[in-house]
Amino acid sequence: MSGRRRDPDYVLYLTVVILLGFGIVMVFSASSIKSFVRYGDSYHFLKRQIIWVVIGLIAMTFTMKVNYQIYRRMAKPILYTTIALLVLVLIPGVGKEINGSQRWLGYGSLTVQPSEIAKLGIIIFMAKYFSDKEEKMQNFMHGLLPPLLVLGVIFGLILKQPDLGTALAIAGSVFIMLFAAGARIGHLAFLASLSLPAVGAMIWLEPYRMRRLTAFLNPQADPQDSGFQILQSLYAIGSGGLVGLGLGRSRQKFFYLPEQHTDFIFAVLGEELGFIGAVTIILLFFLFLWRGYKIAIYSRDTFGSILAVGITSLIGLQAAMNIAIVTSSMPVTGIPLPFISYGGSSLVITLAGVGLLLNISKFSIHQARK
């Protein structure tokens, strides 16, 4: 079954392009003041964002062209490379440390985040594993435990950087893939219950996480520290109202909002474009999820299906987490808003993932049936 190639899912394609367009506009609006103050050039971040989008689109076109079956064969090497990179970045002197986190590999401005690569790497590996062991998924010891051990290693390595947000997004995606692959609900519930002591242990190791954990419940209590970001974010979104202050009119981006063009860009969007703009973004992501899961359902094989679920869920989960954090609906962990937030590796990997998804859509049986 070499399979006749169909057109890729243009709705998904268009949705992503629209989201990227929002991203470029919002990155410029949110970063221009900071760019000017810090670099004397209002377009500093805009220019870089455009370059990253172009690189990302090239990556997407590439993965869109490459038959996804190839990853099935390469799943193991990809996993080993991922783990090797994650170990490498932790070696002092090899990995670059910025703001207390050791997340980057490379020289000068040419850097990559192994944790971003890990997102796709682990999803590919899991997709292969789950599709190969489809019949064993009901078995905890033989079906679930091996991939969970792999996940544990990668989760631990990323947490060591530390990059809790990415680690959680990966764990969440794998969990969703497990669910989709047909793991027993009882097993999943058991795994979920295991995460509670894990959270406890993490707080015990780094007490600042407790403050972050509770800050979102009552940001006013500690407006100078943990609650500060959240409070500023709420001020921004709240000021937006129905239609917002207008593009470029954010007041909170004047250094009140931290990470105004990266993790908290949705707050600037909410302030400038109001409820209408914010809901448009949520709807676009909802559209993306719909198309992504549709591709999964109509995939030609289980591998493609689980892979599509993984990629779609990863992006959807990150978007949901980001919006939840910015609206003070969950504790703060650094996670970018896919397609919109300023960011290099993350954007390129996300778009590469989208390309993969589009490639799967080309072999969709749904299309063939028509």
Binding site: G238, Y256, L289, S305
Partner: protein
């Protein structure tokens, strides 16, 4: 085909999609909550945090002397602040900054790491350091202009002026007393600001301009003040005394022309001087006046008719009062003498007799009437009352000692005011330093008119006493050292022993004083000098009288008060003895600037060269139309006199104006602030002073043509040590 993917996976994915849909819905609901229900609250809170009021300091009023010479001005000075959020490396920034602001790196680092949007590092630094900081160009470190109080004449009139603090609030002296006039009211800028304190473009803002302080014009005359301080400090050096006080006042108005204390301090750096030096001893120190107080005894006795000028008294060298005995300074006794001679000789038994004739009640009434035991109400903070015991408490011995100025404590200002009443036909005037208060737009807000407190003695008595006191300042009177040829001076010497710490008198500790007025027939100046604990000679006639003479001589000359008495031809134009020697000495040190106006440039140059002065020519023309310093000011040799040239027909009110009404900016570099201010104001330009010391830069540059009223910025730097 039902599908390559098994049905459960399909179902699970559908379920997943529904779960994700729920999450999307929940997030949307969350947005509804934030953007609709709580929107107003967040909007208000956000605005509240962004709207910041920034106080705009008003310009503190200027303190002028009676001739509108600046005594205290406000110059702009830069203050350093930090915006911690913008500082990337607090340690590095602290290291770079530490030396310039003279602070510990560790302390600075904690300041720079504060979780505040704005932190003051150092307020009102000098211009040199602010330039350095500007050149360092550190992220998160900024400079803002504030107003700094500046006393262009340094120590001159320090205790009168007092000083203002870092927030331009009056802390001492007139700065404190007239703070409500000088202070002004701050303005506000309420503006929407970013987290680092910068204004947000197109943000909300309101501006309420500050109300600048009013100018205070004093009765003090800068030149007389300068003369007084110079002579006092000279006397302090010669006598090695602990402290000294000098007061010059106009007896007819009560206006204080000069008031000096030693040791003194520089109000520009008041923190570097001991607090004791800030004290204005002339109003806050009570001391036993000794013989100078006999003026009051004499006035009371003459007014009450207890004696006439020609009544005779006998002095055996001492007088018995009950069980005690009061000695005369002339231990052999003065024998029989008229009342005039008693005053002239400052004979103790004579005054005791007069005091006894007055009796405690009448004498007490006069003491009170002359203002002792009460504050004079002079416009300075911290005035003392002195110590005067009520008449009913006085024993006979107390009346006797009081009549020779013992057992009573007065402040120098009380005594100067009381003696001025004798000089002013018996009218006791309210002493004051304030002449008027003017708003920044030159409107007179308050004007002080001379106030008669009371008529203490009759005009006739006052005239008689003036004559009598004039007898003191003669070749053979106790005030002989105050004699100035050609002027009739009335006065009284005083020498009082200081009280010891355990009662009684401290051996070897004296206060020598002299108080007098000139010209005796039409008094213009009352001068009081008291020297506290001089080493060696301690008689008022020896230590204080010469100081009074020098102050009077230069002040009379400065005020242009001509001699009224015939000059003794035997002695020629110069004074004799000690007095002329003094003059020569002083001539060796300083030169009287001659009047050079109306002379041709050649004549003026010759005259200046002859006297050892240098000249600098400003403007063009055939004649000198003005000069700085002015004629009669004393200067050290080699001082440069600036000569302004102009044409004869041209009025001297204008500087070197050309036909188009434009003026050339004078070169002020190398000049002191005082001179620069004078030069610039003469040119009808405004000046903005930066820093202190000697002028090093100016803007516009010398020679540039500008309009009247142009603001000339001048930067000053302290003269370097190796120069």
């Amino acid at each position: 085909m039902a599908g390559a993917v098994n049905i459960m996976v399909r179902r699970r994915i559908t379920a997943l999609f529904l779960i994700m849909g729920c999450i999307s819905f929940l997030l949307t609901f969350r947005l509804v909550w934030i953007q609709f229900i709580r929107s107003e609250y967040y909007q208000e809170e956000a605005l509240k945090q962004r709207m910041r009021e920034v106080q705009v300091e008003p310009k503190r009023g200027i303190i002028f002397d009676r001739n509108k010479k600046e005594l205290a001005v406000s110059a702009s000075a830069d203050s350093v602040f930090a915006v911690p959020a913008e500082i990337k490396n607090a340690h590095k920034t602290a290291e770079a900054l530490a030396e310039v602001v003279d602070m510990e790196v560790v302390y600075l680092e904690t300041l720079l790491s504060k979780k505040q949007s704005f932190v003051w590092i150092k307020r009102k630094i000098d211009d040199k350091n602010s330039q350095k900081i500007r050149s360092l160009d550190l992220d998160g470190i900024g400079l803002t202009e504030e107003s700094k109080r500046f006393y262009p004449n340094g120590t001159l009139a320090a205790q009168i002026l007092g000083f203002a603090g870092i927030d331009s609030q009056g802390l001492d002296g007139l700065e404190l007393y007239y703070d409500q006039y000088l202070r002004g009211a701050p303005g506000w800028i309420v503006a929407e600001r970013d987290a680092t304190g910068r204004k947000i473009p197109q943000g909300e803002q309101k501006y309420l301009p500050p109300k600048n302080g009013n100018d205070v014009i004093l009765t003090i005359d800068e030149v007389i003040q300068y003369i007084t301080e110079r002579e006092l400090s000279k006397a302090m050096q010669e006598t090695q005394a602990k402290s000294g006080t000098a007061i010059v006042m106009d007896p007819k108005t009560g206006g204080i022309l000069a008031l000096a204390n030693y040791p003194t301090y520089d109000p520009n750096h008041f923190g570097k001087y001991p607090q004791t030096s800030w004290r204005n001893a002339s109003i806050s120190n009570s001391y036993e006046p000794g013989s100078t107080f006999k003026t009051i005894t004499a006035a009371a006795a003459l007014e009450e008719g207890k004696t006439t000028i020609n009544d005779h008294f006998f002095c055996s060298g001492s007088i018995k009062v009950g069980p005690d005995r009061i000695k005369c300074s002339h231990t052999e006794g003065h024998g029989s003498q008229s009342f005039a001679d008693i005053v002239k000789n400052s004979c103790n038994p004579g005054f005791v007799t007069v005091g006894q004739r007055l009796g405690k009640d009448v004498f007490g009434k006069y003491i009170k009437a002359f203002g002792f035991g009460e504050k004079t109400g002079i416009d300075l903070p911290g005035e003392a009352k002195g110590i005067v015991r009520p008449p009913e408490q006085l024993r006979p011995i107390d009346v006797a000692t009081n009549s020779i100025g013992q057992g009573i404590a007065v402040t120098p200002i009380q005594l100067a005011v009381a003696v001025s009443a004798v000089a002013n036909n018996g009218k006791l005037m309210q002493p004051h330093l304030l002449k008027e208060v003017r708003s920044p737009d030159e409107k007179v807000i308050k004007k002080v008119t001379p106030t008669i407190v009371r008529q203490v003695i009759s005009q006739e008595t006052a005239k008689t006493l003036c004559e009598t006191l004039a007898g003191v300042v003669t070749k053979n009177g106790t005030g002989r050292n105050a004699v100035i040829e050609g002027y009739k001076i009335a006065g009284k010497t005083g020498t009082a022993q200081k009280p010891g710490p355990h009662g009684g008198y401290a051996p070897g500790k004296y206060v020598g004083s002299f108080v007098g007025f000139v010209p005796a027939d039409d008094p213009r100046l009352t001068v009081l000098v008291s020297i506290d604990e001089p080493k060696g000679a301690y008689y008022g006639g020896t230590v204080a009288a010469p100081v009074v003479r020098e102050i009077m001589r230069d002040s009379l000359q400065y005020l242009g008060i001509p001699p009224s008495e015939p000059i003794d031809n035997d002695k020629g134009q110069n004074n004799t003895g000690e007095s002329s020697q003094y003059l020569e000495e002083s001539l060796n040190r300083t030169i009287h600037v001659p009047p050079l106006t109306d002379l041709s440039i050649v004549e003026a140059r010759q005259m200046a060269k002859l006297l050892g002065l240098k000249v600098q020519i400003m403007g063009e023309g055939s004649k000198v139309v003005n000069q700085i310093p002015k004629a009669n000011v004393r200067v050290v040799p080699d001082t440069t006199i600036i000569l302004y040239l102009g044409d004869e027909q041209k009025n001297m009110a204008q500087g070197n104006t050309d036909q188009k009404g434009k003026m050339e900016v004078p070169d002020v570099t190398g000049k002191t602030i005082r001179d620069v201010a004078e030069i610039i104001s003469y040119e009808s330009m405004d000046i903005n002073i930066h820093g202190s010391g000697i002028a090093v830069r100016q803007k516009p540059h010398a020679g540039e043509k500008v309009n009247q009223g142009t603001l000339v910025e001048v930067w000053f730097e302290p003269p370097s040590v190796h120069e």
